[in-house]
């Protein structure tokens, strides 16, 4: 058995609404499997079915070979879950949160206390173990939540948007933690909006859109499916007011997207666009501070498959001002 997770024809209706539509996928043992999709695509519904919170309308899911519906106890013993909200007991101390989780898994006292100590030390929270977690920062609560998911030494860790809404330091700590856990042999199933994060961390990703799997592969192979999508990224010392409009009129430019203080010009001919941008900067007396030619990103794959660009709001506003 090479697969840690298998979903076969997994389907979920809420009344007449089809939230997840006959999806099939496998996550192999020891891999980081990313589950990407826009809001409402069915990511959380899928994770809820895989973890036994929600019953599928149709289809099956197995966790390390155990059917989550027919062998729920065995399947649940194999997994740890970190939901999108840190569902910890704010009224309890960090220590009590971990120890209570150990009791839910029926771990004997000495085992659960040793494990709680080990995890709190690993997450740098041992010194604050007696404090109620309501006093903790969001990042610290997230670490406690991950610690609770690891109490039972699970084989699979489900993470639903683990870094969403956290400060940069907490994000880096959690990403490093996920990599370390994976190196120790844990299979990671991660849902995220952060395509860059998925690209950097995941061995394979599935892109779900409107309840259906649009693609499953390694990030690099998925990028190759849109190989024609090359782009030039430029930034100026002072952002020109009409740049978005002007760049769209440059020859060989298919689409222009403003990403923060940078502009990304999609093209089939980067060298000609580079020359045009250089000329534009000279004519308008603009100082170029960044010039990059980029291959397709996982975001491009995502946009290609879902038709949704996560960063189009500014470009939309730019287009409206035109």
């Amino acid at each position: 058995m090479d697969n840690a997770i298998e979903a076969k024809g997994l389907t979920k209706y809420y009344g007449k609404l089809l939230a997840v539509d006959h999806i099939n996928f496998e996550a192999k043992k020891g891999e980081i499997f990313g589950f990407l999709g826009p809001n409402g695509a069915g990511k959380t519904t899928t994770i809820r079915m895989l973890t036994g919170i929600s019953k599928p309308t149709e289809g099956t899911a197995t966790i390390m070979g155990y059917d989550i519906q027919r062998q729920p106890i065995e399947a649940k013993e194999q997994m740890g879950i970190v939901p999108d909200v840190s569902n910890i007991y704010n009224e309890l101390s960090a220590w009590d949160n971990l120890v209570f989780t150990g009791r839910l898994y029926d771990m004997p006292k000495s085992f659960r206390e040793n494990r709680a100590e080990e995890l709190l030390k690993m997450f740098g929270l041992y010194e604050r173990r007696k404090e109620k977690v309501q006093l903790f920062s969001r990042g610290m609560k997230r670490r406690i939540c991950i610690g609770m998911a690891l109490m039972n030494r699970s084989d699979i860790l489900f993470l639903d948007e683990p870094t969403s809404g956290l400060d940069v330091q907490s994000v880096l700590i959690i990403r490093e933690m996920i990599r370390t856990l994976n190196q120790q042999g844990l299979t990671i199933f991660i849902t995220t909006h952060n395509l860059e994060e998925a690209s950097q961390m995941c061995d394979r990703v599935a892109i779900i859109n409107r309840g259906k799997i649009a693609a499953i592969d390694t990030p690099e192979r998925l990028k190759r499916t849109v190989q024609g999508l090359q782009s030039v990224e430029v930034a100026f010392a002072a952002t020109p007011v009409n740049a978005l409009k002007d760049f769209k009129e440059l020859p060989n430019t298919r689409e222009v997207v403003k990403e923060g203080d940078k502009f990304r010009l999609f093209t089939d001919d980067p060298s000609s666009v580079l020359a045009s941008v250089w000329k534009y900067s000279q004519n308008n007396n603009l100082k170029l501070i960044t010039v990059n030619t980029l291959g397709p990103s996982l975001e491009d794959v995502f946009v290609n498959l879902t038709g949704i660009r996560p960063t189009t709001e500014e470009s939309k506003r730019g287009a409206q001002s035109k």
């Binding site: 809820r48 973890t51 036994g52 919170i53 929600s54 019953k55 729920p72 106890i73 065995e74 649940k76 013993e77 997994m79 879950i81 939901p83 909200v85 569902n87 910890i88 007991y89 704010n90 009224e91 309890l92 009590d96 209570f100 989780t101 150990g102 009791r103 839910l104 898994y105 029926d106 771990m107 004997p108 085992f111 659960r112 494990r115 609770m148 039972n152 030494r153 699970s154």
Partner: protein, 264 residues
């Protein structure tokens, strides 16, 4: 436990009997956590303690009822309100914080989870209701005339009413108020048909027939027998009816939560 062993993950493994013991241990862990976390929440204090004591004072002050008769009234009210308040406080709050999902993803049955929640209600109800007994015995010369009836009163009533609260907590709400409101539509009318404020013997014949159907009637009656004040139906009928309600409420609380879970 003789054949049990601990696997490499630290989980106790063993026979079917140890599986049962595992469910009991987990249920107790859930109950202990609920006690530590929710017993002092304002909603639990208000609906479980303040509400029955206030109602009791409202209906007893100024009425010429002997104190010996008032103690069973207070016992019945505190058992009724305190036991049935924990589920409706705990479960919606856990839904709102998504901590209820922890139980659904842990390797335990829904039955164990509900057992734990019910146990937390039982302990709360018994803990609060024992105070009027102690006060009555210590300061007002109340006598425990029938310890068996009193134990049956506490055991059956706390279990039945705790399960009643758990049953209502299957209503999909995320604040205690969303569950307490429909629950109070049941609890408050029951107070007036159950011989709490007027002994069943003093009620009209048709009201006596109605009161027979109320579980609270049998709690009051058993408390009366326990403290030697005397009842109307007899302790055997009280125990049989209350026992029947206990079975029904426990069964329905499990059934309703299973149905609610299917909608997830």
């Amino acid at each position: 436990m003789i054949n049990d062993h601990i696997d490499d993950k630290g989980t106790i493994r063993g026979s079917h009997s140890s599986h049962f013991m595992r469910e009991i241990r987990v249920a107790w862990a859930i109950a202990a956590k609920d006690m530590l976390t929710y017993y002092t929440k304002p909603a639990a204090l208000m609906f479980g303690i303040l509400f029955p004591f206030t109602l009791f004072l409202s209906f007893s002050i100024g009425r010429n009822i002997p104190l010996a008769q008032q103690i069973p009234m207070l016992i019945a009210q505190t058992l009724f309100f305190a036991s049935s308040s924990i589920g409706p406080v705990v479960i919606p709050m856990e839904r709102a914080n998504q901590t209820f999902d922890r139980f659904l993803t842990a390797p335990v049955s829904l039955l164990s989870v509900l057992m734990g929640k019910t146990l937390a209600g039982i302990i709360y109800g018994v803990g609060i209701s024992i105070i009027p007994v102690l006060v009555g015995v210590t300061f007002f010369n109340s006598q425990i005339a029938n310890i068996g009836a009193l134990i049956a009163c506490f055991a059956l009533s706390s279990l039945a009413f705790s399960a009643l609260g758990i049953m209502f907590a299957s209503i999909p709400g995320q604040t205690p108020g969303q569950v307490m409101m429909p629950l109070n539509f049941v609890r408050i009318p029951l107070l007036f048909i159950s011989g709490v404020f007027t002994p069943v013997g003093d009620l009209s014949t048709w009201m006596q027939a109605v009161s027979l159907l109320s579980p609270l009637t049998h709690t009051v009656e058993l408390a009366r027998y326990g403290l030697g004040v005397g009842g109307f139906y007899g302790p055997v009928i009280n125990i049989v009816v209350l026992g029947g309600y206990t079975v029904v409420f426990v069964f329905m609380s499990i059934r309703f939560h299973v149905l609610s879970q299917r909608k997830e």
